[in-house]
Amino acid sequence: MDLGDGGYRMKAWILRSLRKGIVTTKFPAGKNEAVSPWSTIPVYRSGDRNPYCPSSAIKDGSVTHGSCISCGMCFPNFEPSMDVHTSQSGKVIRELGKSIKIYAIDSGSCGACNLEIMSLSSPQYDGTRLGITFTNTPRQADALMISGVLTEGMREALLRAYDSMAEPRAVFATGACAISGGILGKSVSTILNTDVIVPGCPPDPFVIIDSIQKLRGRQ
């Protein structure tokens, strides 16, 4: 039999991939299998309660989530919380419970936040099982997921993307840059109301999933 286009090898290989078994997480119903330690918000451990923090995120033993740039410089006084539930949503849109279409927009990122958002398409996360998909146009989007600081060049594109979305709609500030400006610039909240903040530099994919569930009232 001629399978064409590398057929035999392809077939053997597909079978091998199937044998790998289920790789997709059960999160959020189950526990997250992994996490990027320092991308989680640090918690107080011992000693000085106000150690040096380059983004002034620490005050008296606690950390302002949106300002933490995941640098680890507060160690050993602080350590990673390993908590993936640190996002906050200012609103709940239950209509998006079954399906949410996201438009990801880079307002001035280093690239890492963009890739973590895209990670939701990896088999380990498989956003589609939760009805999470990405769209190529803001007109079809329910949510704008912004990464990066607010740059002058992207100001108009950001506002235009937001204006072209239908209600109900939501804005995610993804990562320290978008939430607070981090150490590199201005927060996107200076021009848009952000409904959901997703802390971390960059936020771990599990934190991003959790934040989407919070918006949908499904956590």
Binding site: G6, I14, S36, S39, S70, S109, G111, P123, G153, M154
Partner: protein, 394 residues
């Protein structure tokens, strides 16, 4: 055989650094092709159509704007503007540690390379000789990053060509790799791992070589399948052909130029790897070079683990550095980057950087004439261009 262009980095005050050199010199610059490219949009004639693309579109990973001028099916000219997301990062006036935080976030996807480039130059400016095992740990970080970055490019190409099974399997192994990196280095993108003078956290590499070997083997199987697929090959073959001389990294090596910054870098002096080259200069050649480089990186990681397994964080303070300067280069996954770094009273007093995406973007724009619209994204993605590192930093 062609040679890479004589590219210089100029700090604007008469100090220059030639490619693959660590010694800045005082002297004139012959040419600096890494500078910004002026847009040169053709006048729109009756048969020419101008497609604006960007700055934000779901089809691209980062924000960047293109003017694509077409003549029927064919592209006549592509000009670009990478400044939409320009963050104007400032490092002058900062301490070495504060400067490092910015370098890590210049291109977060290549943070290990940029942080090592910065730390290495700062250490030499301070006259600090760091332990060999720290250099090896940094090599391991950079090679893991290279694999991750190359897998990402491969995922973009396979996704764009609707090679869904290969695409999903590449995403799967890249995510596995990121989890391995997080478990070993405390962060999926190595933020906070490096510090001027050494490492900021202890690193345990025991067993990582076999984990990476497995990833490399799995990718090898995917690669074999892809190279059997006429559909995939046809998408990439003879598209976006570049002349290698003014490009960097895998893009340059895919033009048959056997040059890799790691061949000249002291960190790699006792390590061996094959400088992967391919002919053709097209998207397919770049894909093949990156694919084979994954196996070479796995080999380098094995060599590192044969020399050192546990590297302790450096607890010493970085020494005061005054009136001193150093240059440096590093082969990032997209090609060689160079910096000139000057210190006064423990602060960065002057900083200049050239990134590979500056060269490769220009090469991309030149390569597009005569290609079809459908070739555009494959050409762009195959170059592994990162807009973040094209922004100004001083």
């Amino acid at each position: 055989m062609s040679q890479p262009a004589r590219i210089f980095l100029d700090d604007g005050e008469g100090t220059t650094l030639s490619r693959f050199s660590e010694t800045p010199v005082h002297g004139p610059v012959e040419s600096n092709p890494a500078g910004n490219v002026e847009s040169s949009i053709h006048p729109v004639g009756t048969k020419l159509t101008l497609f604006p693309y960007g700055p934000s579109t779901g089809g691209l990973v980062e924000s960047v704007y293109f003017d694509i001028l077409t003549y029927g099916e064919k592209i006549e000219n592509v000009s670009y503007d990478h400044t939409f997301k320009n963050r104007s990062i400032r490092v002058t006036g900062l301490t070495p540690r504060e400067g490092l935080l910015r370098l890590e976030r210049l291109n977060g996807v290549h943070s290990a390379s940029y942080s090592t480039l910065f730390c290495d130059a700062a250490e030499r400016a301070a006259g600090l000789d760091i332990p060999e095992e720290v250099k090896l740990a940094r090599v391991a970080m950079m090679e893991l990053e290279r694999i991750s970055s190359h897998l990402f490019v491969a995922s973009r190409l396979t996704g764009g060509a609707s090679q869904n099974i290969a695409h999903m399997n590449i995403l799967l192994i890249r995510e596995n790799l990121l989890r391995i990196i997080a478990a070993r280095f405390g962060h999926r993108y190595f933020f906070g791992t490096n510090k001027p003078g050494g490492l900021a956290r202890s690193v345990d590499l025991d067993g990582i070589d076999s984990d990476i070997e497995k990833i490399s083997e799995e990718y090898g199987e995917i690669l074999n399948t892809l190279l059997d697929s006429r559909i995939f090959i046809d998408r990439l073959d003879r598209t976006a052909i570049i002349a290698g001389e003014e490009s960097a990294g895998p893009a340059m090596r895919a033009c048959g130029i056997s040059v890799d910054g790691r061949q000249f870098h002291p960190y790699y002096k006792d390590l061996s790897f094959r400088c992967v080259t391919w002919g053709g200069g097209d998207s397919l050649s770049r894909f093949i070079v990156r694919s084979h480089e994954i196996a070479e990186s796995a080999r380098l990681i094995r060599q590192v683990t044969s020399k050192v397994l546990r590297i302790r964080e450096s607890s010493e303070d970085f020494p005061p550095v005054n009136d001193s300067q150093a240059g440096g280069f590093m082969e990032t996954p997209s090609g060689d980057a160079s910096i000139i770094l000057r210190f006064k009273e423990n602060r960065i007093s002057r900083f200049s950087l050239a990134s590979p995406s500056q060269y490769n973007m220009r090469a991309f724009s030149r390569s597009m004439k005569g290609n079809t619209f459908a070739d555009f994204l494959f050409g762009f993605e195959s170059l592994g261009i990162w807009i973040s590192e094209m922004g100004d930093i001083a």
